[in-house]
């Protein structure tokens, strides 16, 4: 089933089975059902607990804070990931702080979901991957949807935790099928899920056995899908082999699976669609450099999009966002 359908069914199921769940978002009411149709059918079935809201991102996330501190489990849809900036004060100075600054007397488990990312020609303000600005906010979990993680399992896990979370859904994942690990395979690749207690799982996959891989590629979200395709082509066409690590939780980060893979491959390449510099990948470089310096045969390579606006023009957008060609070139280099 494609991701958008799975996500929609997950939200239906959560509303049915957990009466604490309340969903807020702009234009989520039927028959429209949300800008990307993730919320289709929800207002018809749960009119009291699914509220279509005014265009007030800070306000609705703030309302969710009050609900969460009252024992509810609000899930807020921010229509485009670009608009999460409008929620920043509520997330940083309110939601993520309440439990800690009130000495654990309350919890504020708000979940914010947002469709993000580019490659669709939506231009500078509707294409961004702004989650890097939320990485490292204390007491905030940042999660990225991926082609390999079951959205029901992820959202269920987030509903079990007491801390707030930002769940980033790359728009280009919506029409993709979610491929679950099965035995020692993930789709056509060798792969498995690795989970550490207290962390959301990562998946690790490769075209050939791990001991034959000479680079670890760390990627999340839609970049993980592009990376998997690039690695498949490189394996078939050039016999360049890499092991792909795809975390669902990107902050705080379970470095265990990355560290373990780097010990096997001796090289790390990070890929992300967000802008280059001060990024998820630079943090990974620092952390893996610290943990596994002696295991690395070359410096960690961090690949991200150009630090500029995302153009609307298809050709120009391709030059700014990390795409398959850039990835392949970087993988070749890091695998050498």
């Amino acid at each position: 089933m494609i991701f958008v359908r799975e996500l929609n069914e997950t939200l239906h199921r959560l509303l049915e089975t957990d009466e604490r769940v309340v969903i807020l978002g702009e234009d989520i009411a039927d028959p429209y059902g949300g800008a990307f149709k993730v919320t289709r059918g929800l207002t018809s079935k749960f009119p009291d607990r699914v509220l279509t809201t005014p265009v007030s991102e800070a306000g609705i996330v703030g309302v969710a804070a009050g609900l969460a501190m009252s024992g509810y489990r609000p899930i807020v849809e921010i229509m485009f990931g670009d608009f999460v900036t409008l929620t920043f004060d509520q997330v940083v100075n309110h939601i993520s702080k309440y439990s800690a600054m009130y000495d654990g007397k309350v919890t504020c488990p708000v979940i914010i979901r947002t469709p993000s990312g580019g490659h669709r020609g939506y231009g500078p303000t509707h294409s961004q991957s702004l989650e890097k600005h939320f990485l490292g906010v204390p007491h905030l979990t940042v999660v990225a949807a991926s082609p390999y993680h079951d959205p029901d399992a992820i959202l269920s896990a987030l509903l079990r935790q007491d801390e707030p979370a930002l769940y980033v859904e790359h728009k280009l994942l919506y029409p993709e099928h979610v491929v679950r690990p099965s035995g020692s395979r993930i789709g056509d690749a060798i792969g498995r899920e690795e989970s550490t207690d207290g962390w959301l799982p990562s998946v690790v996959l490769s075209q050939v056995p791990a001991e034959d891989c000479t680079v670890t590629v760390l990627a999340y979200g839609y970049s993980a899908l592009l990376a998997a395709q690039a690695l498949e082509e490189l394996a078939v066409e050039e016999e360049v082999f890499g092991e792909l690590v795809v975390p669902s939780q990107i902050a705080p980060m379970d470095w265990g699976p990355v560290e373990a893979s780097v010990k096997r491959t001796g090289s790390l390449l990070t890929l992300e669609e967000g802008t280059a510099d001060w990024s998820w990948g630079t943090e990974a470089a620092a952390e893996i450099g610290r943990r596994g310096f002696s295991r690395l045969r070359r410096p960690v390579q961090v690949v991200a999009s150009q630090p500029t606006v995302i153009p609307s023009s298809r050709d120009l957008e391709r030059k700014v966002l990390v795409g398959s060609d850039t990835m392949k070139e970087a993988i070749r280099e890091a695998a050498a």
Partner: protein, 314 residues
Amino acid sequence: MVRLSAAPDVDAVEADPRLVGLPDEPRDQRFYRRMRFIRDFEETLLALFEEGLLNGTTHACIGQEADCVGVIEHLRAGDHIFSNHRCHGHYLAWSGDARGLLAEIMGKPEGVVGGIGGSQHICAPGFKSNGILGGTVPAAAGIALGLKLSGADGISVVFVGDGAFGEGVVYETLNMASLWELPLLVVVENNAWSQSTPLAVNFAGDMAKRFEAFGIPTTRLESTDVLEIDSEAERQIGLVRESRTPRAFIIDTYRLCHHSKSDDNRPADEIAARWPLEPLTVHSARLDTAARERIDGEVGAALTEIVDEARALA
């Protein structure tokens, strides 16, 4: 539908009756006592700052005690208060917990929130405060939405000052509170100065109309008289309880102290002109001297004990 897990329990703290009211005390004396308590607490804090015992900063509510006492008189277990940076009076009127608040501001583990929150970030049953101006208003609306969804009969009250009207999220929330018919009372303590800036420099148009534009009925009262405020607050709170819809109650008052500490550049004659109108002066005229002195002595003694205890904490 679920009941609120954080059901407020105002009785959680054992308050000293010398601070919050003796059994069967006449109302005039009770109000005087409760305002005296808040005033003395704030003055004690300022003295402790001078002594170097407190860390950080504090925002005293000297001159605004009648708002705290008059409004909170009509709130009860099951209601929720969201306050702001100037929250001591609200918290003390709600809980009477001088010991917990003082220990908190002194940074002690025995403080209400273990010394983490300090002066502006308090959380207790039915009460929260946050120092980010206006950002508390949507959370208060969310609490009201929770009350509505759970079918509880409580109401949510948020205290803001005139300064918070500069924040956009306040208007986003007023819109939703009105649209969704939330049991929310916004109490505005307009103390005429936003930090160092007078209202006339910060504020265009009419304050009440800003609420009324969203269809939120608004009452404005210029008063430092606790009896007037008490009586209007009773009416406002009753209306929100009954209608389950939002209202706004603007109290035009005056802050007699600095904004936080050592940051008062207001005209001295303006402040001097307000002292004869301050709530304790206005209300104490209703008490005979003996009663007033007795209460002053009782409040003073109770606070002295609390300060001594707090000083002795590790």
